[in-house]
């Protein structure tokens, strides 16, 4: 009898973990990725991964981790999933250690843990300051082992275009574009897991990688998958200025004692080392004496914005502050933060061991994403192996990693993303296997008409794009879109400006129809692929903007001066968006707060 075959789209941490879980159970996986999976954006994660191992005897526990996560997310996270994730965390860190991740150690030879934002405990395991890179490599290497054993087939230059849905709207595979041959191809699969990451590329300059366009998630949404909490976009308080990208300066810099400050006096242009202590304003330490520089990211970004924009105290008069490590011994810095200091030095030319770094906030992470469900027991713990876990509303279509929506609520805590990616993969793998046991027919047994039809439809779409000979340049439209999104849909949001932004997006959509394809050669044509992705990005940008306009309150990363307070009575609910050609249709669903009752979110 034929065995089910699965498709995983995306080869970052979530996609690789899903793949490993499926292959380990003896099933085959087609792994679809834009680039060799070892180059996925997970490599950019720096600071570490959270797990309440309590190595320092601080009485830390998974329950406290769970509480910090839910409070950090301003009570919008799905609580059973956050709980399951926090309980699984120590085991996940041990697993990565067994796979060979070179985590830093304590004097006794145990894993070392450092502090991170939104908690008072040492809970973050780390491998220098390149933890994501280390973890991605460990999983990549395990997947290669299954590839050598014949269980995993990789398609590493393929762009996901859409799920293939049968007449009962069950997902039976995917359509993809081969980015070398420029041919539309279909893959049959008994379940599809989207692990396609975040949409940072919608913003002009973010900490995200170039491939993080959100295009695949948008394609799933346009095919009928519900998208949840799109308005919650995290702006990381500390990034390095750059022309092409805002490189991240990890929260671990503050976890290891880094201090954020600005000159007390407006227009104080002295070099930072010549500004004496009494003329420096350590505004986070002053305002938040308990959490100091380690308040959650949404709060730190807002405070930096307030100090720089409202009070005019930014370094050089702009949106910029100092992040100071110069009081920490260089040897400690090299051992614990080497990787990120290297990045700062290479791209800025200053040595952060000697000079305070100049940093500023940058778009970093999407808390929202494809809506997925779960199944929990009466203790509120997710049931591993339930087909409901990580399942979208489309039968057979699953999602895990940054592309899903449910772990972080309105704001993600630092070092919880690596964790949620791995945990999501650990749920998604077993979920698709149990889902497939109930299928009366496998995708491999279906007639080819369904797949041929999709292939034709998409081939026509690309032929059409290939003939576009207008005056507009897709990269230029992308550039404009990104500037508008950064300007209006980040730290501070205003309804009038959000409306203007939506209108701008509609104008850009009009202009999209007048594109010039730039490149007509049907081999490794990046311009054609990008034109299609750009349309998807415009859809997602519109969704983020419309959902932000609708939510008239302030919660986590979503802040409106017109509505400065959290409003639980009206807005303690998940935004659900459904695609329609006339614009997103929004509805709301209650959040499961059965395990932790919402309280005021205070860090001072």
């Amino acid at each position: 009898m034929a065995k089910p075959n699965f498709i995983v789209v995306g080869g970052g941490l979530a996609g690789l973990m899903t793949t490993i879980k499926i292959a380990e159970a003896g099933y085959s996986v087609d792994l679809i990725s834009l680039m060799p999976v070892r180059r996925s954006h997970s490599v950019c994660a720096q600071g570490g991964i959270n797990g309440a191992v309590n190595i320092r005897g601080e009485n830390d526990s998974p329950d406290i981790h769970f509480f910090d996560t839910v409070k950090g997310g301003d009570f919008l996270a799905d609580q059973p999933l956050a709980k399951g994730m926090c309980y699984a965390a120590p085991g996940i860190i041990y697993l990565l250690d067994r796979m060979g991740v070179a985590f830093n150690r304590t004097p006794e030879g145990n894993l070392d843990f450092r502090r991170f934002g939104g908690t008072l405990y040492h809970r973050t395991a780390f491998a220098g300051a390149t933890t994501g890179q280390q973890m991605l490599y460990a999983l990549d290497e395990q997947v290669r082992r299954f590839e050598a054993a014949g269980l995993v087939r990789k398609f590493e230059h393929h762009d996901f275009l859409a799920p293939v849905l049968d007449e009962r709207r069950t997902c039976r595979g995917i359509v993809a574009l081969d980015l070398w041959e420029m041919k539309v191809v279909t893959f049959r699969g008994d379940a599809v897991v989207m692990a396609t990451g975040g949409p940072g590329g919608i913003y002009r300059q973010s900490t995200n990688s170039v491939l993080n366009t959100g295009s695949a998630a948008a394609a799933a949404y346009m095919a009928g998958a519900r998208y949840a909490n799109p308005e919650f976009i995290q702006v990381h308080p500390t990034a390095i200025p750059g022309e092409d990208k805002l490189r991240l300066m990890s929260e671990s810099a503050r976890g290891e004692g880094g201090r954020v400050w600005v000159p007390r006096n407006k227009g104080d242009n002295r070099p930072p080392r010549e500004i004496p202590e009494e003329d420096r304003w350590y505004f986070l330490e002053e305002k938040y004496p308990r959490f100091k520089n380690l308040v959650p990211r949404d709060i730190a970004s807002r405070e930096i914005y307030d100090v720089c924009v409202n009070k005019g105290l930014g370094v050089g008069g702009g949106l910029m502050v100092y992040l100071d490590l110069t009081h920490i011994p260089a040897e400690t810095l090299d051992r614990k933060l080497g990787g990120i200091l290297e990045i700062y030095e290479k791209f800025r030319g200053d040595d952060p061991r000697k000079e305070p770094m100049r940093i500023f906030p940058a778009v970093h992470y999407s808390m929202g994403g494809l809506w997925v469900g779960y199944d929990a027991d009466d203790q509120g713990m997710p049931i591993v192996g339930s087909p409901a876990n990580q399942a979208t509303n489309i039968r057979g279509l699953y999602a895990a990693g940054e592309v899903d929506h449910q772990y972080h609520g309105a704001n993600r805590l630092g070092a919880n993303s690596l964790l949620s990616c791995i945990y999501g993969g650990m749920l998604a793998g077993p979920a698709v296997i149990s889902y497939s046991t109930d299928l009366d027919e496998l995708a491999s047994e279906l007639p080819s008409t369904l797949f041929e039809q999709e292939e034709r439809r998409w081939t026509e779409r690309f032929e059409q794009i290939g003939r576009m000979d207008g005056t507009e340049n897709a990269y230029e439209i992308h550039y404009e879109l990104g500037r508008w999104m950064v300007e209006n849909v980040t730290i501070v949001r205003d309804n009038a400006k959000l409306r203007e932004t939506e209108n701008k997006i509609l104008e850009l959509r009009e202009r999209w129809h007048r594109l010039n394809v730039l490149d007509t050669q049907m081999w490794a044509n990046q311009a054609v692929a990008f034109a299609n992705q750009l349309w998807n990005m415009l859809e997602l940008a519109r969704l983020i903007t419309v959902a932000a306009e609708a939510r008239n309150e302030s919660r986590g990363a979503h802040y409106k001066p017109e509505f400065p307070e959290r409003d639980d009575e009206n807005w303690l609910k998940t935004t659900i968006a459904e695609y329609s050609p006339d614009g997103p249709k929004l509805s709301y669903e209650p959040v499961d707060t059965s395990l932790i009752r919402p309280v005021a979110r205070k860090y001072d």
Partner: protein
């Protein structure tokens, strides 16, 4: 800030298809402070007009993280294999000459196919043979000084710079698995659990195209963007394979 008076001059070796002839194309883009080679290529995408004023196809290249951790954007810049993202315009002479890596098949323009590297990693079993992903408790303890020795070896992003610089390596014509693969084999041989299957890896690097093909030119270590002590890894592998060979002979 864009400074429209100042320009950056680029000279790019282009190739339309894997089989077609390469040709040079030159571009001028507006200079701005702190810009890198990637921002120049992005500027060409937004306005694909060459120095002669002709509309041309945008230049094709690979990139992703733009902070020198993903390994995608390797190319030969002014004669040296390196990452385009960390190549700041202010620090190199103009015209900036960009060529694709020459040891791998060119797909188009600056984009090459480095699959040979990933295949070689399979050959040397560059992974830890874990018993499974179920919860088996903590891994073995390790002193911090050992972590500090292991960590630099683990940072290979498969960018291919060492392979490009190596006079013995050529994925198109020669069987040599190359410096990156040898480092990867060594990295797992020193891993606390990985060393349990050390002999399998040593046997793999003793095969045709293995460690004996290294000519000890030491170019690899000089170009590695992550400063991995590749030659130390190769030397250590050499000692280990010799030991194994002697054991095979004398028992």
């Amino acid at each position: 800030m864009a400074d429209t008076d100042r320009k950056v001059h680029l000279k790019i070796l282009r190739q339309d298809t894997p089989a077609s002839r390469p040709y040079w194309d030159e571009f001028e883009v507006d200079y701005s402070a702190g810009m890198n080679v990637i921002s120049c290529l992005m500027a060409i995408q937004r306005n694909p007009v060459n120095r002669k004023g002709e509309r041309v196809r945008p230049v094709v290249w690979e990139c992703n993280c733009l902070e020198e951790v993903c390994g995608a954007c390797s190319m030969v810049i002014n004669g040296t294999p390196r990452q385009a993202c960390s190549c700041l315009v202010d620090k190199v002479t103009q015209p900036i000459e960009l060529r694709p890596l020459s040891k791998f098949p060119v797909l188009r323009d600056l984009m090459v196919d480095r699959q040979a590297m990933f295949d070689a990693f399979k050959k040397v079993k560059a992974w830890v043979e874990i018993d499974g992903t179920h919860d088996l408790g903590p891994g073995p303890q390790m002193p911090q000084h050992e972590q500090e020795k292991l960590y630099p070896l683990t940072r290979c992003m498969v960018c291919g710079c060492c392979m490009e610089a190596c006079p013995q390596y050529d994925s198109l014509r020669k069987p040599f698995i190359g410096p990156a693969t040898l480092n990867q084999a060594h990295r797992f041989n020193v891993d606390r659990t990985g060393k349990m299957t050390k002999e399998e890896r040593l046997r793999a690097v003793m095969e045709k195209g293995g460690i004996q093909d290294c000519g000890n030119a030491q170019n690899c270590v000089r170009v590695c963007p992550k400063e991995i002590p590749i030659t130390d890894s190769i030397a250590e592998l050499g000692r280990e394979t010799t030991k194994l060979l002697l054991k095979d002979i004398f028992g």
